[in-house]
Symmetry: C2
Subunit: 337 residues, 2 copies
DNA sequence: CTTTTGATTGCATAGCTATGCAATCCAGTC
DNA sequence: GACTGGATTGCATAGCTATGCAATCAAAAG
């Protein structure tokens, strides 16, 4: 076995043992290089005996490419983001890219975290942050590497975005409520800095048409608790909507629970309610939540395609925006299908 | 600004502009090195003008340490793991360690994924996999780097584990049910390969004492659906327990929904029920689930402490096992406190 | 047998920073 | 003014692999 002394096993060690040059070892582990099958086998055998593993670090120095992508997440407590991350990690691995993960609470953390990551010469950044300040855009722009954002309205020469068709979904939600005969609609918004939420609200208002005049607007922050709170407060003030669109599923679940707990209201009997994201919990029997499925696979697939394009040799700074249609997924909370 | 031609800005470029040597630039960015304040400032200014960022890659080659930790996850759809990951990423960053994330479906993926990661010279591996085969242990053992496992019974010269006090919690759960006067207890187990689940079951059985004779044993796979299914099947067979311990919260939620849907049974009125993990959804009003809080912060903190120790200079291969006590968190599903 | 061709292999080098060591410089001391 | 000591700086090098180029070799063609 290798590591007789403390030193790591290098390609030179393998070369010695196999009786070839160091370059031959390198070629034995390369898919493209030209090498005789017999030689390769001999080398691989020697490598196995020494427990040698090719070291990618020098290759990074030479090529300037690390094969690593910085992935910036916040709020993994939302199962939608957790799922998106899971898919993303798998897709990137299939492209031969590794994920350098960063968790971010605020813009400050982001700055220092990116600074750190850049030291590792990451090839790109993918972010699912629901953050969209100019400051962030600027920070991301100066990296001079491709940046892919989910559901963001950031723009810049290196920044591409993949978004759900938030506005159209909002319209669809409104139409569904009108079909169900809703007279007094409500809208439970996410935080203002969340561009996706804003777009959903705009679409919803637009789709409501005349009904928009009496729209009840509630403010949440994308968490279950905020949905529960907002609806509780509303009910306490005596407001009783009969239809409700929630900017995400977490808040929708909170809303359903508040409606039941605080006023004995049921979905869909008393309130026709729907959310957004299609988190697993929405399908749980206690909620049976109608929602919009963003199609995580398509979303992530699109992001990876953009990434591959942006990382192609000799590519210019790319800036694209893809919109992926979200699909209405009708369940019990909006009534029998 | 930098990057006049395609080349990246290097410390040599900064040195030229600041009129110093390359080593001075290196020292300006080092916390420990000796350098005159005026010189450092001059260099930092030049660096800022050129948009220079220190490159960690050569340092990795020299030191053999990358400052990256491979984190292996599976099943991020369980919010408990998502939360653990979030905490872990933050704690590691506070230690100056980066996270190279891998998602694993099966043992096969694990092997190839680890092979990949090793090329990046990761300093250690942290895994929250509920996988514990000998094969995996062997694979992890040959890496010759510290490995930290959560809730696993893997052992080996390089492997340390941090576990929740699963067995004791099982006993506590049993005692709680007996206090509540449960006559016919049930146990909803996770997959057999999940060592934590097995330990919880053993403790539960032990704590039940005489009651263990009539124990109803159900088999799930840690998902909501499996909990729902298992309980539905049980009810269909006419079995009606009045107390239930579920190996995790996801299954517990499924069990609660099945009890209500399929037999109109409520917790705690008809069934005294508790889970494990303290996922956010357990606190949702629809479930109000009594559970064991593993203390993610403490768990992750302990793991990071072990890691720091294992990565200390000149450390021998460490193999420790820490057990963190889980705390019973009583909510409505086991009756009024 | 000679020449040509293609395949395989080895040599030498680039890539960028951290650090030991030696050189230099400055201030303080006698 | 000479000397000591400490602080600062520069020089030179190690660290490991991928790859262009030249050399070599074997086989096929003439």
């Amino acid at each position: 076995m290798g590591a007789q002394d403390g030193r790591r096993v290098t390609s030179v060690d393998v070369a010695k043992r196999a009786g070839v040059s160091q370059s031959a070892v390198s070629r034995a582990f390369s898919r493209t290089a030209s090498i005789a099958p017999a030689t390769r086998e001999k080398i691989l055998r020697a490598a196995a005996e020494l427990d040698y593993r090719p070291n990618r670090i020098p290759a990074i120095m030479l090529s300037g490419r690390s094969g690593m992508v910085g992935v910036v997440v916040g709020g993994l407590s939302n199962p939608f983001y957790a799922s998106a991350l899971e898919h993303l990690v798998c897709s990137l691995r299939d492209q031969g890219l590794q994920v350098l993960l960063v968790h971010v609470d605020d813009a400050l953390t982001l700055d220092s975290a990116l600074e750190q990551l850049l030291g590792y010469r990451i090839d790109a950044v993918v972010t699912a942050l629901a953050i969209g300040s100019e400051v962030v855009a600027q920070a991301l722009g100066t990296l001079r590497i491709p940046v892919i954002c989910f559901n963001s309205r950031l723009t810049g020469p290196w920044i591409s975005t993949v978004s759900s068709n938030n506005r159209a979904a909002g319209v669809t939600a409104a139409h569904l409520l009108r079909e169900r005969g809703v007279a007094c609609p409500a809208w439970l918004a996410g935080p203002l800095r969340n561009a996706a939420s804003v777009a959903r609200g705009e679409g919803f208002r637009e789709g409501l048409g005349a009904l928009a005049a009496g729209l009840v607007s509630l403010q949440g922050d994308d968490t279950y608790e905020s949905g529960y709170e907002a609806v509780s407060t509303m009910l306490a003030r005596g407001v009783r909507p009969d239809g409700m669109f929630c900017s995400n599923d977490m808040m929708a679940c909170g809303a359903i629970d508040a409606l039941r707990d605080r006023a004995g209201l049921c979905c869909p009997r008393d309130v026709v309610l729907l959310g957004y994201d299609n988190i697993p919990q929405g399908a749980w029997r206690a909620y049976d939540l109608t929602t919009f499925d963003q199609g995580v696979e398509r979303l992530v697939g699109a992001a990876c395609a953009l990434l591959a394009e942006a990382l192609a040799d000799g590519a210019e700074p790319v800036s694209q925006s893809l919109v992926i249609g979200a699909e209405l997924l009708e369940r019990g909370s909006t009534g029998p299908v």
